[in-house]
């Protein structure tokens, strides 16, 4: 038997790694992948809690998260492609038009 806290700690580790990825990488694609990693970490926690609370809600949430993630990836990648077309790069440090 695995204590549920193990799963949660694993989820926390993966989440932190994902966050780290977002913070340290400049390539938009990799940042995107890191975000997916964070979503996965959250999903893992959901499923773990499903077993604790004995309800389907967690699984169903995971299901929705996946759907949203798919949508997000579709739009996000389209954005990246568009950005690449105009800038010939996906380095987000070069995208600084928001500078105040």
């Amino acid at each position: 038997m695995v204590p549920v806290s193990y799963y949660l700690i694993l989820s926390a580790i993966l989440f932190s790694l994902g966050a780290l990825g977002v913070l340290m990488r400049r390539n938009a694609l990799v940042i995107f992948m890191s975000i997916e990693l964070m979503l996965n970490a959250a999903n893992l926690a959901f499923v773990a809690f499903t077993r604790v609370h004995e309800t389907f809600s967690g699984q169903i949430f995971v299901f929705f998260v996946m759907a949203v993630a798919a949508a997000e990836v579709a739009v996000g990648l389209a954005l990246i492609v568009t950005i690449y077309r105009s800038r010939q790069s996906v380095d987000i440090d070069q995208l600084s038009s928001l500078k105040g």
Binding site: P3, I9, V30, T50
Partner: protein, 176 residues
């Protein structure tokens, strides 16, 4: 130390390792491949947690669809050499923050959940996809529909975004 626990640790190691691998990889293709492995390991965790439907969805959606999409995009925009992207002087803050997050997360889990909470034993019911479907199509039918619309909108959005602007043919024709 049960077999399950051993399996858990092995898989956890793989998951963490592939995550770190992705973080550090020099090439986007490698990063993507690391991530696929990570997703598959997480899928196995789902199986361990008696959620077969989610596990298979995980493989189909994440490892399959999403990652293929990534690879397509990588192919589309060309391979970019990411060497030298990681500038260690810039990494101080991210590392600090990541560490803080990790520590806080772990402590929260310990504080709130405790180590002696075990997974329930009624898993056979929770693993039944048909029961889940029943809940999904009754209590959650409205969110379900909205999700469908969301996907449709995302699809249209992606099409609109990635469509190339048509060059103004008439003007060129005149000049030519």
């Amino acid at each position: 130390m049960s077999l399950e626990l051993i399996l858990f640790f092995i898989l956890a190691a793989i998951a963490i390792a592939t995550a770190i691998g992705m973080l550090l990889s020099r090439s986007a293709v490698y990063a993507a491949l690391y991530l696929v492995v990570n997703f598959v390991s997480v899928a196995i965790f789902y199986l361990l947690l008696d959620a077969p439907f989610i596990a298979l969805s995980q493989i189909a959606v994440y490892a399959g669809a999403i990652m293929v999409l990534f690879l397509f995009v990588i192919m589309l925009i060309g391979l970019e050499n990411l060497a030298g992207e990681l500038n260690w002087r810039q990494l101080a803050w991210p590392l600090v923050m990541g560490a803080i997050l990790l520590v806080e997360g772990v402590f929260l889990v310990i504080q709130r959940v405790g180590q002696d909470v075990y997974i329930g034993q009624t898993g056979t019911q929770l693993s039944d996809p048909s029961l889940m479907a029943k809940v999904l199509f009754t209590d959650y039918v409205l969110p379900f529909q909205i999700t469908a619309v969301l996907l449709l909108v995302a699809m249209i959005g992606a099409i609109v975004l990635s469509k190339r602007e048509k060059p103004a043919l008439s003007n060129q024709g005149k000049e030519a």
